[in-house]
């Protein structure tokens, strides 16, 4: 069955032709390169490395980065649509692209010196270098400000000590954007693969995002040249990157939601029980309508947020709203789709359980659902409730 995305409110009419072309290209890419291999890749927790040059060739790394640094120079709406299509394939593949674009290329472009930008961005765009983003620590997840990884300045370098955990792409990264405290303030450092004292063992045993590599980063007296320090101080550095990535997630998860909805709709029309398609039962129809409604609402939120971002007017609160809402509805869609598929909902012949498992990570990373609730709660009341 060909994929039938939802566009109940004619949002496509609001997209520019090149945005739609980008979406279409990424959709075709996912159809030919991701969907045929992804269940196997997920089951075996075997990341398909050949996807990296293919994604790079399509132009999926550095979508919003200027062309002079090897990027595409497209707008945020295009970036969002690309993430949506990738996540229709798998949240793990989308995560790879989110990290490369928003958590690695974005901070290098924004906070790196000209020399650093020229050295890294073109390689990252071509997929010749892979990046990762190290903020979370074993004992500091939702509260990154409490991090203990620290840097000490010497005459001509910084010495980094500490450990990061849950780092997407860590083991395979050529460059890690690592956040550490320097004189008590959060600063960003570029740690290169092969630097003495730096290791990145892979974490195993995940039941979620199995087609994505997650790692620890360990720093033991790693000497980092001065030029590798990013030009930003304080938690706003990493948070600005997270705002980019969260925006991409808000779009991305709509792809996963539409994938499971599409499968559920097809299934409900072809599955016969009591002599008729289960789609004919009121309870099933309500489930389909609920998914359809929430997806349509999420699309409108994402569309508007994208346009605000393109005008440089989106606030981090709006991004929190969209990430929180859209991940939640996508996860709910998975649960409903799972029910509609009956027993078939749990097997890998259908995409539902994989998307459901993946989205559990997505709900937690990039600010947990609860933390986004607190961010919005503070926004409404003026009272921070984190501590």
């Amino acid at each position: 069955m060909p994929y039938k995305p939802i566009d109940f409110f004619g949002i496509d009419e609001l997209y520019h032709p090149e945005e739609l072309l980008i979406r279409q290209s990424v959709r075709s890419f996912v159809d030919t390169e991701v969907i045929p291999i992804i269940e196997d890749s997920f089951e075996k927790a075997d990341f398909h490395f050949d996807l990296i040059p293919k994604m790079a060739e399509l132009g999926l790394f550095g979508i919003t980065i200027p062309e002079e640094y090897g990027g595409i120079g497209a707008n945020y709406t295009s970036y969002g649509l690309a993430m949506q299509e990738l996540e229709r394939g798998d949240s793990g593949i989308r995560s790879f692209a989110s990290v490369q674009n928003s958590l690695v290329m974005y901070p290098i472009n924004k906070y790196g010196s000209e020399e650093i930008k020229k050295r890294w961005l073109p390689k990252l765009a071509k997929g010749e270098a892979i990046g990762c983003f190290g903020l979370t620590e074993p004992d500091h997840g939702s509260n990154p400000g409490g991090m203990i990884t620290n840097a000490v300045e010497t005459a001509d370098s910084y010495i980094l000590n500490g450990a990061k955990m849950w780092i997407t792409n860590g083991t395979i990264a050529d460059i890690a954007v690592v956040w550490a405290k320097l004189n008590g303030e959060v600063c960003g450092f570029l740690v290169e693969k092969g630097m003495k004292g730096f290791t990145a063992p892979e974490m195993t045993g995940k039941h979620s995002l199995r087609a994505s590599i997650t790692s620890e980063l360990v720093f033991q007296d790693v000497e980092i040249p001065k030029i590798n320090k990013l030009n930003i101080k304080g938690l706003k550095g990493p948070l600005s990157c997270l705002t980019q990535a969260r925006y991409g997630i808000a779009y991305g998860v709509i792809g996963a939601a539409m994938a499971v909805y599409d499968s559920a709709l097809d299934y409900s029309l072809s599955r016969i029980q009591f002599g008729r398609p289960i789609a004919g039962f009121q309870l099933t129809q309500e489930k389909l309508v609920n998914m359809f409604t929430e997806i349509s609402k999420a699309q409108l939120v994402a569309y508007r947020l994208g346009r605000l971002k393109d005008d440089d007017r989106a606030t981090s609160h709006q991004v929190s709203f969209a990430k929180r809402n859209n991940v939640e509805i996508a996860l709910n869609c998975c649960r409903i789709a799972r029910e509609i598929h009956g027993a078939n909902g749990i097997v890998n012949e259908y995409n539902v359980m994989r998307h459901a498992a993946n989205l559990e990570s997505v709900k937690t990373y990039e600010g947990t659902h609860e933390i986004h609730t607190l961010i919005l709660g503070e926004h409404l009341t003026g009272i921070p409730a984190y501590q």
């Binding site: 060909p2 090149e18 072309l21 279409q24 290209s25 999926l60 595409i72 497209a74």
Partner: protein, 248 residues
């Protein structure tokens, strides 16, 4: 090699088509338009011929202003130039073929590639009318194409089998599924295509040879066949899949 590929704007086959209030046209409201899928195959073949032999690929469409969108897709896929022969009125296959022919005379292409049919009206006429108008050999429904020097060998689909024909350049080829898998444009090419020029020409008018009297949505569902679970039923399913729907 001077390659001309003709493309048309058609409703996405996934769109739900509604007949307009005049009973003769499709209501464009809510319809997504795409490059005719067979034309995409023609575009791909044109690009491959250029990659192999050098030269240029020109994409041409006959249609209204909105057809420029489909030319942008062709530019993003990699054609060198794009031309729209503009008309605001409705048109038939002869009108299209006649306008392609007029344009082709101005650039003398070595080969003209088109889809075997447009998935909107499915007339399957343009490639053949064009052959007549230009006095060129026209090979239709081609699934395999090989060009050595001036010699063109094409495999075409015929009822229940295939036929291999030989002709020579310049010629007209209409593409059928299977000829190739069209590429999808890369993001940098999509961005570059945004600012490439599209040449505009006015259409040459011709009398309507075919007039649409009305269009209707088929209401009847296709009759299904219900079989049981016995061995003979399974044999029948296999036979139907093999002989009727030809999917296995």
């Amino acid at each position: 090699m001077n390659i001309l590929v003709c493309i048309s704007r058609v409703p996405d086959t996934a769109s739900r088509v509604i007949v307009g209030s005049d009973g003769k046209t499709i209501d464009p409201q809510g319809i997504k338009y795409i490059v005719n899928p067979y034309d995409e195959i023609a575009l791909e073949e044109g690009l491959r011929l250029r990659e192999k032999n050098g030269g240029t690929v020109t994409a041409l469409t006959v249609g209204g202003e909105s057809s420029k969108e489909q030319l942008r897709t062709a530019l993003a896929m990699g054609v060198d130039s794009a031309v729209i022969v503009k008309t605001d009125s409705s048109f038939d296959s002869f009108f299209v073929a006649n306008n392609i022919s007029e344009y082709a005379k101005s650039i003398n292409p070595d080969i003209i590639l088109l889809g075997k049919q447009s998935v909107d009206f499915d007339s399957l006429q343009v490639p053949s009318i064009l052959g007549e108008l230009l006095g060129l050999p026209s090979v239709s429904v081609v699934t395999k194409l090989a060009i050595e020097g001036n010699t063109v060998t094409a495999e075409r689909e015929i009822e229940g089998g295939k036929e291999v024909v030989e002709t020579s350049l310049p010629c007209i080829i209409s593409a059928q599924k299977g000829l190739n898998d069209p590429r999808y444009p890369k993001l940098p090419d999509i961005m570059k295509a945004k600012s490439k020029p599209i040449e505009e020409k006015d259409a040459v008018n011709s009398d309507e040879r075919v007039t649409v009297m009305g269009i209707e949505i088929p209401l009847k569902k296709r009759a299904g066949i219900i079989l049981g679970g016995e061995d003979k039923d399974i044999d029948e399913v296999v036979r139907l899949l093999h002989e009727e729907s030809k999917v296995i």
